[in-house]
C-alpha cells in the first residue's frame, strides 16, 4: 500500500478540479488530483465516437465564458505559447422556421439588428437597447455574481434599491426575481420568432424558460449571446492544456484512481482512500469536485454528517431534462432552404430547428417533467467542421444534433435509452433535420451514433440523471442557495473538506466558476497570497 502526503487532494479531474489544483500548485502547494476515469477533463470530453478521424465533443461543445472568465488568462489556457485556440464564428446562432424564414445572431450586433428587424423593427430596437444596457455592467456583474463566492440575493436586491438602479436602467429590475424568462420575453418583445430565438439561447444555456425566478439571470445571459466559441481540435484540448499547467506547477494527477472514502479523523478530512487500497493524506484540505451524493453518501463515513445536512443532500434536486444527442460523421456540410431568405443561416453555428414559439418550449418542459420523450423533437444542431476543419478528414464533416429529453422515461427509469429506441429516435431527429436542408439527407451521413441521457450519467457519474448542470437551475438552487445555504461558501460541515464542482455556485457548463470561487475561500482560510487577483 502506498501512503503519500500532500498539502491538498482534489477529487475529480474535471475542469473545476484541475483549475483549482493548478492555482494551488502555482501557489506553492503540493497537490494531488485523483480521477476515476482513464482520462482527465470530465465534460471536456472529445472522442472519435462515430468513426476514426471524426472528433465529437460528447459533452461540452459550447464555451461561452472565454474572455469573461479570469481562469483562462490566469492559467494561460488560451493562445500562445501552448494554450488552446478558439474559433469564434461570425454568425453565432440561428433559428430556422417552418415557413422558410430564418433569424441570425452575429458577433456584429448591427447584423443581428438587421436580421431581427426583418421580423420586428420594434423588437430589434428593444434587443439593441437591452444588449447595450447589459454590456455596460456585464463585466461588473459577471465578476461579482459568477466569479466570487455568492452573497445573499436579498443583499443584491437591497443594493439595487439603494442605488435606485430601476430608475437608471430599462430592463434590470428586482422584480425579475418573480418572473420567468417567458414573462420577460412577453413583457418586452412582440414577435414570437424573436422571442423564440432568445428563448432558445436560454434553453441551450440550461435555463428553462417557464420557471419563475430565472428572469433575473436572463439579461446577463443575453449579454453573452454573441460569445459562443468552439475549441479547435475538440473540447478535450482544454483539458490537455489544464493538465500541462498542472504538471508545470507541482500537481500530480492520478488517473483510474477512484476515491472510495474520504478519511476523517477527529472530525476533519485528512485524506482519501482509493479503490486499490492506497491512502493519500492532505495536511491542509480535501476538495471534492463531485456531486453531493457521491461526496457525502458514498465517500464519507455514514455517521459523519449531521442529520439535517444529510437530509439536504438526499433532497438535492437535478434538472428535469438532459440531452439526447446524435453525433454525425458526414460527407458534407449541410445547407438550408431558409438561406433563400437569409443566406447567413448557412454560416450559423448554434442552430434551432423546430422551436417556433414559446409554447413549443413550454410543451417540451411539460413533457420532460412527466417523463415523456418529445414526440416531435426540436433540434439544436451544430456543424463544428464549418469552423474547425481539423475535426474531420478532408472533405468530410462532423455535426451534432441535440434534443432536450428526460432521463427517466414514462416512470420506467432510463432503461429505454439502452434499447433500440435510441436508434429510432436518432432517425427521427435526422428526418426532422432533413426537412430544413436543401442539400442534405440521411444518405449524406457516413455514420450517426446516438449518445443518450443514460450514456451521460454512466460516463460522467457527476452528472447524475444526465444532468450536465449538476443540480437544478431554479431560484432555490442558485447563488447562496446552491447546493444548500450551509455549503454555498464551498465549505462543508466536515472541517477541511471543501466543494469545488459544478454542484456549487454558479453551476455546470465550462464556467470554471465553482473551482475559482472555492479557491477564493481556500485562499482566505489559509492566508494564501492571491497572486491571481490584480485589480
Amino acid at each position: 500500500m502506498e501512503e503519500q502526503r500532500y498539502d491538498a487532494i482534489v477529487i475529480g479531474a474535471g475542469h473545476n478540479g484541475m483549475a483549482l489544483a493548478t492555482y494551488l500548485g502555482k501557489s506553492g502547494w503540493k497537490v494531488l488530483v485523483l480521477e476515476r476515469r482513464l482520462e482527465e477533463g470530465g465534460g471536456l470530453c472529445t472522442e472519435h465516437y462515430t468513426r476514426p478521424g471524426f472528433l465529437h465533443n460528447l459533452h461540452s461543445n459550447y464555451h461561452t465564458f472565454v474572455g469573461l472568465c479570469p481562469v483562462y488568462e490566469d492559467l494561460g489556457l488560451v493562445g500562445e505559447p501552448d494554450g488552446v485556440k478558439y474559433a469564434y464564428p461570425p454568425v453565432q446562432m440561428g433559428s430556422i422556421f417552418e415557413d422558410g424564414t430564418a433569424m441570425t445572431i452575429h458577433t456584429d450586433m448591427a447584423k443581428t439588428h438587421a436580421s431581427m428587424s426583418r421580423f420586428s423593427k420594434k423588437d430589434a430596437d428593444t434587443f439593441q437597447r437591452l444588449y447595450k444596457e447589459v454590456k455596460g455592467f456585464q463585466d461588473l456583474m459577471i465578476s461579482t455574481l459568477m466569479y466570487a463566492p455568492p452573497i445573499d440575493v436579498n443583499d443584491i436586491t437591497k443594493a439595487l434599491s439603494t442605488w435606485k438602479v430601476e430608475e437608471k436602467t430599462e430592463f434590470f429590475r428586482a422584480r425579475l426575481r418573480s418572473m420567468s424568462i417567458n414573462d420577460f420575453l412577453n413583457k418586452h418583445f412582440e414577435n414570437e420568432k424573436v422571442k423564440t430565438m432568445l428563448a432558445f439561447h436560454a434553453a441551450v444555456c440550461g435555463y428553462y424558460t417557464d420557471l419563475v425566478g430565472l428572469a433575473i439571470s436572463f439579461p446577463f445571459m443575453l449579454g453573452k449571446i454573441d460569445n459562443w466559441r468552439l475549441c479547435i481540435g475538440g473540447s478535450h484540448r482544454l483539458a490537455h492544456t489544464l493538465w500541462r499547467q498542472m504538471r508545470r506547477n507541482n500537481v500530480t494527477l492520478r488517473m483510474a484512481s477512484p476515491v472510495e472514502e474520504i478519511i476523517v479523523e477527529n472530525g476533519r478530512a485528512v485524506g482519501v482512500r482509493t479503490s486499490d487500497g492506497n491512502e493519500f493524506f492532505a495536511d491542509k484540505l480535501v476538495a471534492s469536485s463531485l456531486d453531493l451524493d457521491q461526496t457525502f453518501n458514498k465517500m464519507l463515513p455514514t455517521d459523519i454528517l449531521p442529520q439535517n445536512v444529510k437530509s439536504d443532500v438526499d433532497a438535492y434536486e437535478y434538472q428535469d431534462g438532459t440531452l439526447f444527442s446524435v453525433h454525425m460523421a458526414m460527407h458534407k456540410i449541410p445547407t438550408y432552404k431558409a438561406a433563400a431568405f437569409d443566406p447567413d443561416i448557412n454560416n450559423a453555428w448554434v442552430l434551432n430547428m423546430g422551436y417556433e414559439c414559446l409554447e413549443d418550449f413550454n410543451k417540451d418542459w411539460k413533457d420532460i417533467r412527466s417523463g415523456k420523450v418529445p414526440e416531435d423533437p426540436k433540434l439544436n444542431v451544430a456543424i463544428n467542421s464549418m469552423f474547425d476543419p481539423t475535426d474531420a478528414p478532408e472533405g468530410k464533416a462532423t455535426g451534432v444534433i441535440r434534443v432536450i429529453a428526460p432521463y427517466d422515461v414514462d416512470g420506467k427509469g432510463p432503461g429505454i435509452w439502452a434499447s433500440n429506441f435510441k436508434n429510432a429516435y436518432s432517425n427521427r431527429c435526422i428526418r426532422k433535420m432533413e426537412k430544413y436542408c436543401d442539400n442534405f439527407t440521411a444518405e449524406d451521413i457516413l455514420q450517426a451514433k446516438p449518445y443518450t441521457p443514460l450514456d451521460i450519467s454512466e460516463k460522467l457519474t457527476n452528472m447524475k440523471r444526465g444532468d450536465w448542470m449538476v443540480g437544478r437551475i431554479c431560484e432555490d438552487n442558485l447563488m447562496g442557495n446552491r447546493p444548500t445555504p450551509l455549503m454555498s461558501q464551498y465549505k462543508t460541515p466536515v472541517e477541511g473538506l471543501y466543494l469545488c464542482g459544478s454542484t456549487t455556485h454558479p453551476h455546470g457548463f465550462i464556467t470554471f466558476g465553482p473551482g475559482y470561487n472555492a479557491l477564493q475561500v481556500i485562499a482566505d482560510d489559509f492566508g494564501l497570497d492571491k497572486w491571481w487577483i490584480e485589480i
Binding site: K135, G136, F137, L140, I151, K158, T162, V165, E534, I535
Partner: protein, 149 residues
C-alpha cells in the same frame, strides 16, 4: 480654490471625507485601497486628451489615510478597486451633473474589484459619491461642466 485634480484639491477632498461621520461609521473595518484613473477625453480642459491622471485612496477603518496623485498607472496587486473613466465624466460627477451609478451601469465608468462588499454596504457608495459631488472644492478656473462638445 484649487484646480480639480490638483494636490490641494486632493487635500481638501481628504479633509471633507474624513469630516463625514456617517462615512467613517459605514466603511467596514480594515484597509481599502482604491485606484482612480482619469483619462483626458478631449472634452475636459483639465487633462489633455489621451493623458491620464492617477490617484490613490487608502482608507483605514473608515478614515482616509492617504489620497494622492500617482505619476503612473497604479499596480493592481493589493488594490481593492480600480475606477476608470473619462475626465469630463469625473468632472461632471464632481459638479453634481452626472450620477456615478448610472455611469457605472452604462459602462462609461469601469469599476473593477469585488462588488459584493459594496452591495452589502450599498449606502456607503452613496455617501462616497455625495462627498465626491462637493463641487465647491474647486472654482473651476478652466471652465465648469457641462462642457460644450
Amino acid at each position: 480654490m484649487p484646480d480639480i485634480f490638483s494636490t490641494e484639491w486632493y487635500d481638501a477632498m481628504l479633509k471633507l471625507a474624513n469630516s463625514q461621520d456617517d462615512l467613517s461609521a459605514k466603511v467596514p473595518k480594515g484597509e481599502w485601497r482604491v485606484a482612480i484613473e482619469i483619462e483626458g477625453d478631449g472634452i475636459s480642459p483639465y487633462i489633455p486628451k489621451g493623458e491620464f491622471k492617477y490617484f490613490f485612496v487608502h482608507m483605514v477603518d473608515g478614515k482616509i489615510k492617504e489620497l494622492k496623485a500617482f505619476p503612473e498607472k497604479i499596480p493592481g496587486k493589493g488594490l481593492n478597486y480600480r475606477i476608470t473613466g473619462p475626465a469630463s465624466v469625473f468632472e461632471s460627477m464632481a459638479a453634481g451633473l452626472m450620477d456615478p451609478i448610472e455611469k457605472g451601469l452604462d459602462g462609461t465608468l469601469s469599476i473593477r474589484g469585488d462588488m459584493r462588499l459594496l452591495m452589502q454596504n450599498a449606502d456607503l457608495a452613496n455617501i462616497i459619491f455625495d462627498v465626491y459631488k462637493s463641487s465647491d472644492l474647486t472654482d473651476w478656473p478652466k471652465g465648469k461642466p457641462p462642457y460644450e462638445q
